[in-house]
């Protein structure tokens, strides 16, 4: 996937678990008419109050009007989260628009409004959070893609070659070493969340024992995404 030159919508959230973050994104595609190439990523913000942020990117948002319209819609969708500012005032947290020409240095914060983390008493530098989102999205080095080009075709089980051809995923990384052959099968479990790594959208996979009706597979090997859709919480009562 070539690097998008589109605008980036950055949305900060008070959410601290990945499950909550995923859940809050579930209805976005229905509420907002997102472009087909839209890239929706979750980002871990590691500051005083670690939490999740989202970025929404599309190369098709060429005009300001189109982008602004979508900004409003996304803002309406996520508008319920309160941001608490240092002077005690509260207001809805609106998405932040970062246009392609945005300078890479973070010196632009002259507003003086520093927000306080959601529900916590620790001061938090808004500029730094913006930079985290902007840098991760621009450098394509850390975001975790929930919606990406072709993601809706990645259901059931399909050959690796088809995964690479039909979606924005650039590479399949087999954990534990080795390479994945194009005729191997990806068992998607309906849940594919590739991550940006050094400019590539990479899906980490594990080899799985493929149990077919006829018994263990003897043909091409099967892999499945490393990230499972329903992880058992650590030390759950099992």
């Amino acid at each position: 996937m070539t690097l998008s030159t589109g605008s980036v919508l950055a949305i900060d959230t008070p959410l601290t678990t990945l499950a909550e973050a995923e859940h809050s994104l579930l209805g976005l595609g229905e509420a907002v008419d997102l472009p087909a190439d839209v890239l929706v990523c979750t980002h871990e913000v590691r500051d005083g109050t670690p939490h999740y942020a989202f970025s929404v990117t599309s190369a098709r948002w060429a005009t300001d009007e189109a982008t602004d319209g979508l900004l409003t819609q996304v803002g309406d969708y996520f508008g319920d989260w309160p941001a608490v500012f240092e002077d005690g005032s509260q207001q809805s947290q609106r998405p932040l628009l970062i246009r392609p020409a945005a300078p890479s240095s973070g010196s632009g914060s002259g507003s003086g409004s520093r927000s306080v983390p959601f529900g916590a008493g620790q001061a938090l530098d808004e500029t730094r959070r913006d930079e985290t989102r902007r840098d991760e999205t621009r450098r394509r080095d850390a975001g975790r893609a929930v919606r990406f080009g072709g993601c809706l075709r990645l259901t059931g089980s399909l050959p690796i070659a088809e995964v690479l051809a039909a979606s924005a995923i650039d590479r399949i990384a087999l954990l534990g070493g080795g390479t994945v052959a194009p005729d191997w099968q990806l068992s998607t479990r309906g849940f594919v969340r590739p991550r940006w790594q050094r400019g590539e959208l990479v899906l980490a996979v594990l080899a799985v024992l493929a149990v077919l009706p006829a018994g263990p597979a003897t043909g091409p090997a099967t892999v499945a995404p490393f990230e499972v859709p329903n992880p058992t919480p650590c030390c759950a009562a099992h």
Partner: protein, 268 residues
């Protein structure tokens, strides 16, 4: 941390959910198909049991692995009491095993030509520059069945060596510049007690040594490549990961210290 020369000790344990004679139990008595709540959640469709409930007395029907039944921390204790065991852990006289892979390990480092018991696991051996350091390893092989009812077989032992460099200024460093597997012994033909020795001639820098061994059922080049670790533990295959078929043991390090100043010249 070991490459910084710090006493970072290995231990092995597993979490315990159900213990013999507990006053609580899970709500469906380990029946993975029984629903444990009104929504119909079962262990099989939800991945876990519901919160524990009062067991109307102590429950004796089931238990997790008892301590040491799969993973075990072996401590070199000088006396038969709790305090001596804790002292052994603090001193680092520790090795860990899966599935009782081996029955005993005695590893010592000493200066060639000097008599004495040598330095045991977790210890520091102070040497002069250009001394020759000898490592002697005595492994008592498993001579009886483990909890899975088979006698495990030790098929390979790996010797891991790394320079001690002193405090690292990069607090995020996850690798060391020189640590790697320097020797692998095939022990598949051995029986009884295995004795292995390795010599470090004319040492000129501080370093640490530790060993690991395996049934060699599942091995693959390590994360840092075959030049560092040609036959490390292989990642599990989803749906095909029998812990009893992939057994390892790991020892604590022995530090060999020369008078060289730390941090050691990294460029070398």
């Amino acid at each position: 941390l070991l490459a910084e020369g710090k006493p970072w000790w290995i231990t092995a344990n597993s979490d315990s959910h159900k213990v013999y004679a507990d006053w609580s139990k899970n709500p469906v008595d380990n029946n993975a198909d029984a629903a444990w709540d009104a929504a119909g959640d079962t262990f099989n469709n939800f991945g876990r049991f519901g919160d524990p409930v009062y067991a109307d007395g102590i429950q004796t029907a089931y238990s997790d692995f008892w301590p040491g039944y799969f993973s075990r921390t072996h401590v070199g204790s000088t006396a038969f009491n709790y305090g001596a065991v804790m002292s052994g852990i603090r001193a680092g006289r520790v090795w860990v095993s899966h599935g009782d892979l081996i029955a005993g390990l005695d590893m010592r480092a000493g200066v060639k030509g000097k008599h004495g018991p040598g330095t045991a696991l977790g210890g520091k051996l102070a040497v002069r520059e250009r001394d020759t350091v000898t490592l002697s390893i005595k492994i008592t092989l498993a001579d009886g069945p483990n909890f899975a009812q088979f006698t495990p077989k030790l098929n390979r032992v790996d010797l891991i060596v790394g320079d001690i460099l002193g405090p690292n200024t990069d607090r995020d460093a996850f690798t060391t510049p020189s640590t790697k597997v320097v020797k692998s012994w095939d022990t598949s033909k051995s029986s009884g007690t295995v004795t292995l020795t390795y010599s470090f001639p004319r040492v000129d820098r501080p370093f640490y040594v530790r060993i690991r061994g395996t049934d060699a059922n599942r091995s693959a080049p390590g994360f840092l490549g075959a030049a560092v670790d040609p036959t490390g533990p292989a990642i599990d295959v989803v749906g095909d990961a029998d812990p009893w078929a992939d057994l390892w043991f790991y020892s604590n390090p022995i530090f060999v210290l020369t008078p060289s100043p730390l941090p050691y010249n990294r460029a070398r």
